[in-house]
Subunit: 221 residues, 2 copies
Amino acid sequence: MSTDVDTAPAVGDSERRRRTRERLMDAAFDVFAEAGVHTASVEAICERAGFSRGAFYSNFESKEELFFALSDREVDKTLARATDIAREVFPASAPNGEDVAEVVRTMIQFVRGEANWHRIVAEYRLLAMRSGDVATRYLDFTRRLNERVGDMLETITLGAGLRFVGDIRLISRTLIALSSAITEEQMLGGQSTDGRETEGDPLDFEAIVAYVHLVTEPAID
Amino acid sequence: MSTDVDTAPAVGDSERRRRTRERLMDAAFDVFAEAGVHTASVEAICERAGFSRGAFYSNFESKEELFFALSDREVDKTLARATDIAREVFPASAPNGEDVAEVVRTMIQFVRGEANWHRIVAEYRLLAMRSGDVATRYLDFTRRLNERVGDMLETITLGAGLRFVGDIRLISRTLIALSSAITEEQMLGGQSTDGRETEGDPLDFEAIVAYVHLVTEPAID
DNA sequence: CGTATCCGATACATGAATGTATTCGATACA
DNA sequence: TGTATCGAATACATTCATGTATCGGATACG
């Protein structure tokens, strides 16, 4: 009997299907960011995407599978964008010290841009803390991002006639950790419901530039 | 009619009641850490605490209220412990450069200790990203922790005949961000389910000590 | 010793989200 | 034009957590 072992099992892969999945992921991005993965219902995602739950379960096994498909997509997008920014910025850099500050500022703007992406990453990290499998994926993401940023920094800095004092990976790591922390504070402070603004002391981005200057020195060449 | 406007409304505050609340919070700490605030059911918390849901709703209005009561308690505990550690460490510091490394190491051990507390904080942060009220509380916590660590660093460093180059708050902030990032990576790497260990490159704690040396210099006095 | 109060247990009603089984419609293909 | 296939919609059954209302027991107090 023709059980079609390898033609039937895999579900279709038509263009229509692909678009549906994309729309569901687009919707999920917003809904997850707003409500969180657990709070968000499949229903809510479908509603925003303009589909029914039938469509959802025809395309994804569960909400979790959707989340991981989504994170993969966004991680790729993010890394691609980081690369684009690097390509866009470093040919323009006339080799002088000021450019480093500029590059760092660009990088931070990039990190800072999307609050929703920050929420997604924060949730990704939280899930990773509870599941080894997720942790593997998450660490892979952060590792790739670190490398990308490290390369970027190194290239720029060399172009500017500077070099880093110490381990470049540690430095890029520090920069990412620091700018994330600051971005986070600004994000959290900005939305404070009650009257008073973030009067505390939102450490300025300039402080990061100061750090960069601290860990760079003229390349003797 | 004696409506007892200000004697009746407040629910009891007996010793028994206080103990019940504590036990519920103890249980919630574990359950929240393991499963997450949303996934964890009131039922699960009660079961671990050895109570029924009746007891729960007699003591807390909702799971969220419990979470906030719990975070307050833990934040206080954490800050108190930070203070204790500071008190414990700095009288012992014979003023030499090595002590700084030792202190940083102690600080990191402290941060590192409890994976569950990390999970709780991560969730706290995530909730803060979606609610201005929570954000206010969370920022207050991080601000206090920063101050505490900053004071600690400053005292120790002075005692060791060193001084920080640059803004001490930025430095303590950087240290916290960095050690959190590293702790996180170790935590995530450690639990990876599949065979391979965290072979990647777990930036060593020593690297942080290197950073401290980078931002300190002998106090000319 | 009896009674009242406080606190936790039990039982129940409700609402919400999930996943599946089935149906309907459109598009490709003969 | 008829038919088969694929993908999304609909309807349904089920599970699960919540919150409340009521009950029972213990302890304190007269």
